[in-house]
């Protein structure tokens, strides 16, 4: 069966689901969401972090072609930029629906408090969005121009900054020992780069032309890069968890243990580590096995693992009570320290994924994004 057609069909299905879910979200507010007053952020925030990471990472990957002019990646710059644009849109939509007052988002722009890392991040991503559109325009209309190089240099710096800012958003919170580690803002740019590499692997592996002479070498290099980044990711996880456990701060230990051995242990061990890391690493390490569509599917698994990793960063810190006895005080459905996304949250998230995929496919078909279509 034609892969492209299948992806189109899946995207349309998810997008329709998303429209329904968004309609329900707008009509019912937060009443059908499963998060509460203690686990106050859920799937939507985690997916914002994920999509934002893909956006920043895709820009980093685009710089290989459009800034550093790496021959292997020639012709991939514009498609990577388009990936970044669509992912950024998904991320911003995901965080917007999470707000208590959707109509007040303008206040972050017109009445900002710049002392807040969240404000810095919102402004950073907004500026990043402008840079993305500008660079894509220049890449199509004025390829190889000095303006494009300047835009790429500025964009690369911004993409690293905003990736780190996402880590800082959580890392600055001294009240949550699980987040409050200096490693976090350092880790996130690496995660973003991994996301960008995996996204390009999906694009080239699943949707790329088999006739493209560079495709095989691109997949090989992206596969190696994915494996290297996976090693770095695992090292970061080891550093993160071992420091927490050796440090023995009770709230921190509780969060790590919850993640590793709690009710949702399988989310970490099965989805994030086995499916999202080890399987793709093993397959991509075998050049013969990891050619073409197989490599593309491995990219999908890596992205899934990264999305799960975002959930595993956000939730454990919130699922540990700030004061131990809070679990038994004035409890109620919204005053719990457990969380599993509701049907509405899954619907919105799958829908946003569908919007991103559909927008990407339409752009890929309608915009001059391939290398040989340089104006």
């Amino acid at each position: 069966m034609n892969t492209k057609r299948s992806v189109y069909q899946l995207s349309i299905l998810l997008a329709v689901l998303g429209l329904v879910a968004l309609g329900v979200r707008f009509a019912t507010g937060h009443r059908l969401a499963a998060y509460g007053s203690y686990v106050v952020w859920g799937l939507w925030v985690a997916m914002y972090l994920f999509f934002a990471g893909v956006a920043a990472g895709s820009f980093m990957v685009a710089s290989l072609d459009l800034l550093f002019r790496v021959d292997t990646f020639k012709g991939t710059g514009r498609i990577a930029l388009w990936t970044a644009i669509t992912s950024l849109g998904g991320g911003l939509l995901s965080i917007w629906v999470d707000l208590g007052h959707l109509g007040r988002i303008w206040k972050v722009f017109l009445e900002p408090h710049f002392g807040s890392v969240m404000t810095q991040m919102v402004w950073g991503y907004s500026i990043f969005g402008v840079i993305l559109v500008t660079t894509l325009y220049l890449a199509i209309k004025k390829p190889g121009s000095p303006q494009l190089r300047v835009a790429m240099i500025v964009g690369l710096a911004v993409s690293i900054f905003i990736s780190g800012a996402v880590g800082a958003l959580l890392g600055v919170e001294a009240s949550r020992p699980f987040w409050h580690v200096g490693l976090l803002p350092v880790q996130f740019p690496f995660f973003s780069a991994t996301s960008g590499v995996a996204a390009l692997l999906v694009v080239i592996g699943l949707l790329g032309s088999p006739d493209d002479p560079r495709r095989a070498s691109q997949i090989r290099v992206l596969g190696i890069a994915t494996d290297v980044f996976a090693g770095v990711k695992l090292y970061f996880l080891w550093a993160f968890f071992s420091q927490s456990l050796y440090g023995n701060v009770p709230e921190n230990v509780a969060a790590v243990e919850l993640l590793l051995f709690g009710t949702y242990w399988w989310v970490f061990w099965i989805l994030q580590i086995l499916v999202g890391t080890l399987i793709p690493v093993a397959v991509l390490a075998m050049p013969r096995a990891a050619s073409g569509k197989t490599a593309g599917w491995m990219g999908v698994l890596v992205l899934l693992g990264l999305a799960v990793a975002r959930v595993n960063f956000v939730l454990p810190a919130l699922a540990v009570p700030e004061l131990a006895a809070l679990t038994r005080a004035f409890s109620g459905p919204r005053l719990q320290f457990t969380y599993f996304p509701s049907l509405l949250e899954w619907g919105v998230t799958l829908g946003i994924t569908g919007f991103v995929m559909l927008a990407f496919l339409i752009g890929k078909d309608r915009l001059p994004l391939r290398g040989e279509e340089v104006a």
């Binding site: 507010g29 509460g36 707000l99 007040r104 009445e111 949550r176």
Partner: protein, 244 residues
């Protein structure tokens, strides 16, 4: 017969509100040895501020200590600490929450966008989110002779008067979709009334007043050798003191 401490604190409050706001330093002192865990403070706060499900300003934390047969229970009412160095204010992306002139951390409901970043920043779990729900949601309307959802829910839908304004619960308007927290009943203080939790404490375990008034009850208790604050090591400088 000794004067009830509530009457004394009312008189101290009357003195305090005559002074400029900047010269006042509201302080709450909770004597854990006197708290019997009756939850009157929790419930009076819910009633005073018309708090919906999922929103609680002053839960009472219970802890069982010791081993049988030497076992006892401890109760820790936990209002907002009104920190002098609050971790929750600087994180707000639109400056909707701030340390007010009287030292109380306030939320501007019309400015809050409901991002809940401040909730994650509070080390005491003192901030909660208003999901727009009601305790009477899903209850039957009832027969004509019975009180049904509409009448029973009237209390929930009636306006609260937090921050000196009227906040009826209509659709998704504020305070629905906002983060909410204890504010030491600023609206009551402005009228010379003690916070609801203080007035209703049957064990007289909660004291409140202006610590800048040397003759006040809280000023006297603030320096007690058994006075302590929650998570002192974080350096948040809470304005709620516990006597242990």
């Amino acid at each position: 017969m000794d004067k009830d401490i509530i009457i004394s604190m009312q008189e101290e409050l009357a003195r305090a509100i005559k002074r400029p706001a900047k010269e006042r330093r509201w302080l709450m002192v909770i004597d854990q040895r006197k708290c019997v865990g009756c939850y009157a403070c929790t419930i009076s706060c819910v009633a005073e501020n018309k708090l919906p499900p999922g929103v609680v300003y002053r839960p009472v934390l219970e802890d069982e200590v010791g081993t049988y047969p030497r076992v006892s229970r401890k109760f820790l009412p936990r209002p907002c600490m009104q920190c002098d160095r609050p971790p929750c204010t600087n994180v707000c992306p639109v400056g909707a929450t701030e340390k007010g002139a009287e030292g109380v951390v306030t939320i501007d409901y019309k400015q809050c966008i409901g991002c809940r970043y401040c909730v994650t920043a509070c080390p005491y779990g003192a901030r909660t989110f208003d999901f727009g729900e009601a305790y009477t949601d899903g209850t039957p309307e009832g027969l004509p002779a019975m009180v049904g959802q509409a009448r029973a829910g009237a209390m929930e839908r009636s306006a609260s008067f937090e921050y000196g304004r009227s906040w009826p619960r209509k659709g998704d308007d504020s305070p629905v979709g906002n983060v909410r927290k204890c504010h030491f009943c600023l609206h009551r203080l402005a009228q010379g009334m003690l916070p609801a939790c203080v007035s209703t404490c049957i064990g007289r375990a909660t004291y409140f007043g202006d610590a800048n008034d040397a003759g006040s009850t809280v000023a006297r208790l603030e320096g007690s050798p058994n006075a302590t604050r929650l998570k002192e090591d974080l350096g948040t400088e809470p304005r709620v003191i516990y006597l242990v």
